[in-house]
């Protein structure tokens, strides 16, 4: 049996009260409850406070450049589909710098889980506006207020992402469940996590979220397979903010459709040295 202690990582260097703590607990809890040993997991991250999460747990880690999380995660999954690949990053990393990768990873439906710690601000570089900063949000680079934010959930649904969820760092239990569903989902599981930043975002605080979030599971007639309904749900922001599975649609993953993987993971396929001569002869 896997225990929480198996995932105990190095000393934490986030600000006290940071939403990242809740996300880290939820990730570890989900992995333990799914009885997944750390060596089977690959966490890929970019640069940012969120990007440090893998350092604070225990598994295989690939720390990429700012914004370049998803292509590396996809590459690893293609080469070894036996790995449980979890990509993590901030909203700046994923929706700004790496925004193009986000769209295409969803479109292709790689079988990975993608957690975006959405604190609506650039934490690591100390408080500039991010693509999800609320309209009018004042930061050191947007002193007259930020412009229209990106709606990542609506974008994901438009790209037909096969699993679109939203969690809240202040509700670890619920988030852990969502992550479990994301990991077990076959295909691209995208989870946007509402993450309070106690230093640089004094607007979207724990209380601000607590007063607004409600769980979709508790809404009896909500059907996450209904794309139009999901798209409408994704527009809700302000008075009421839904968390849970917003949209889910099973479709073939990129890896399932790759003929090269028919004989198993690439990393386990033998390289037949003997055939090299035969191949070279073709060109000589």
């Amino acid at each position: 049996m896997v225990a929480m202690t198996d995932y105990a990582g190095s000393k934490l260097a986030w600000c006290p009260g940071c939403g990242n703590f809740g996300i880290l607990s939820a990730v570890n809890k989900a992995l333990v409850e799914l009885n997944i040993e750390p060596h089977r997991v690959l966490m890929v991250s970019g640069i940012g406070q969120a990007g440090k999460l893998p350092h604070y747990t225990r598994c295989n880690i690939l720390n990429m450049l700012h914004g370049r999380t998803l292509p590396a995660a996809a590459g690893a999954k293609i080469a070894n589909p036996e790995l449980i690949v979890i990509a993590v990053g901030g909203d700046g990393d994923g929706y700004g710098e790496g925004g193009n990768h986000f769209i295409h990873a969803m479109r292709r439906n790689h079988d990975i889980t993608y957690l975006v710690h959405n604190n609506q601000v650039y934490g690591l570089t100390k408080g500039q506006a991010s693509p999800t900063s609320d309209l009018g949000f004042v930061t050191k680079t947007t002193l007259r207020g930020a412009t229209m934010p990106l709606n990542p959930l609506a974008l994901a649904i438009a790209c037909d992402a096969s699993f679109v969820g939203r969690g809240f760092a202040g509700d670890v239990e619920h988030l852990a469940n969502l992550i479990k569903m994301g990991i077990t989902h076959k295909g691209f599981a995208f989870i946007d996590v509402l993450q309070p930043c106690v230093i640089f975002n004094r607007k979207n605080t724990y209380n601000w979220y607590r007063e607004r979030v409600y769980k979709l599971e508790e809404e009896t007639n909500y059907d996450p397979s209904n794309k139009a309904a999901a798209f409408n749900k994704a527009q809700e922001w302000g008075e009421q903010i839904p968390i849970g599975i917003i949209y889910r649609k099973q479709r073939p993953t990129f890896e399932e459709q790759l003929p090269a993987l028919d004989k198993g993971p690439l990393v386990k396929q033998k390289i037949e040295i003997g055939r090299i001569e035969e191949l070279l002869d073709e060109f000589l």
Binding site: E97, G99, T125, A129, T141, L143, R144
Partner: protein, 392 residues
């Protein structure tokens, strides 16, 4: 207001220089240790002190692209970045120089990943060496401030029309508070005339920029670009002379410190040259005939000035803050060695690489480098270069 000497962070001084230059468009993406520069500019814009458009974009690639668009319609354009941000701009940098768009950029020099480092070295600069930009290294805050003002004048000169990078060491300069002479607006206005781009994108006079070049003209466009960048040196020299006449501080491509009768010369670029000065002082006090050469103009490379500056020395020790993996010595040393190769009278050139990823080099460290350099010049070394201060 008259010229004032005020204690400010160098990043802030850069923002003030951009304001005094009355830039029209600033587009940037935050990255340590550049953030203070662009935050300060954003603040000046928001406070109404600078009438400019500040575009917060989603990446450095977009930042440079937005600057190009703005520059092409005739706006005076400024940006700043560092390390990985400069690398992400890479392909766009060529477009700026090849289209002759005079964007000005300060680069807070930072080491490249992996492993991740936010600290200073020159690996980011060296990777963009051949992008066709004019590149100037600053050794302290005042030099940075002055050269940002000069950069606009050089870039926009009708004989030049090329983008300019001002390099300053991340943290060592960006986050340093220094007393800096800040001139009054009217004086800057006289030094830096309003920007007039000769061929802006204009619906009344349509032009095409950056179209396709088949093999029968591509080489000619590149030759023109090369000739243009080389010829820019005269304009840079002229600008520095005039800057001196206006403000009393004179700059040159290569600067010597205590080089009289020096048998041994140390050459350094960037802020470490200031530290090296104290090492030279101590060695001079000890009676050693050593001097320091600061290389300020990196592109166009000042061949004549370098040859003249080192001709009479016996040993020239060069410290690079970047590696050329698997290659010859550090990039600065390679260039200088090649510039000297065909000269009849030249010093022995000894190469060191150090100060990587924020590793500091103290005055004692420079003494060690100089002494070891002298030793190598006598005994020879099996290595192409030595890395200084590696913990074994």
């Amino acid at each position: 207001m008259t010229t004032q000497r005020i204690g400010i962070e160098v990043s802030r001084a850069i923002a003030i220089a951009a304001k005094l230059a009355n830039v029209d468009v600033v587009s940037a993406y935050p990255i340590t240790p550049q953030t203070h520069i662009v935050e300060d500019i954003a603040e000046l814009v928001a406070d109404g002190e600078l009438d400019a458009a500040y575009i917060p974009v989603e990446s450095e690639h977009s930042a440079m692209s937005a600057c190009l668009g703005a520059s092409a319609v005739g706006a005076r354009t400024f940006t700043a970045t560092a390390g990985q941000g400069l690398e992400l701009m890479h392909e766009v940098l060529y477009i700026a120089s090849s289209m002759r768009l005079p964007v000005v950029m300060t680069v807070a020099n930072r080491a490249l990943s992996a492993p991740l480092s936010i600290w200073c070295d020159h690996s980011d600069v060296m990777a963009v060496r051949d992008t066709g930009w004019i590149q100037i290294f600053a050794a302290n805050g005042q030099e940075t401030f002055d050269n940002v003002l000069c950069a606009f004048r050089i870039a926009e000169d009708q004989r030049v029309l090329l983008p300019v990078m001002i390099h300053l060491d991340g943290f060592y300069l960006t986050h340093m508070v220094e007393p800096i002479y800040v001139p009054e607006q009217s004086k800057v206005d006289k030094f830096l005339p309003p920007y007039e781009y000769p061929l802006p994108l204009d619906p009344n006079k349509p032009i095409t920029m950056g179209a396709f070049a088949p093999p029968n003209i591509y080489t000619e466009t590149k030759k023109a670009q090369q000739a243009n960048l080389t010829a820019a040196k005269e304009v840079i020299l002229q600008c520095w002379r005039e800057f001196g006449n206006f403000f009393g501080r004179y700059y040159s491509p290569v600067e010597g410190y205590r080089c009289e009768k020096a048998k041994v010369l140390l050459l350094v670029m960037g802020s470490l040259s200031e530290t090296a000065m104290s090492a030279i002082d101590t060695l001079r006090d000890e009676g050693k005939e050593v001097g320091l050469i600061k290389l300020r103009l990196w592109r166009p490379f000042p061949f004549d000035e370098i040859r003249r500056a080192v001709r009479d020395a016996e040993v020239l020790i060069i410290l690079d803050r970047a590696l050329s993996f698997g290659g010859p010595a550090g990039p600065v040393c390679s260039e200088i060695r090649s510039a000297l190769y065909n000269e009849d009278k030249k010093p022995k050139v000894i190469s060191f690489v150090g100060g990587l990823g924020g590793r500091d080099i103290s005055p004692d460290g420079f003494k060690e480098i100089i002494n070891r350099g002298i030793e190598i010049s006598q005994t020879g070394s099996e290595q192409e270069f030595e890395m200084f201060g590696v913990r074994e």
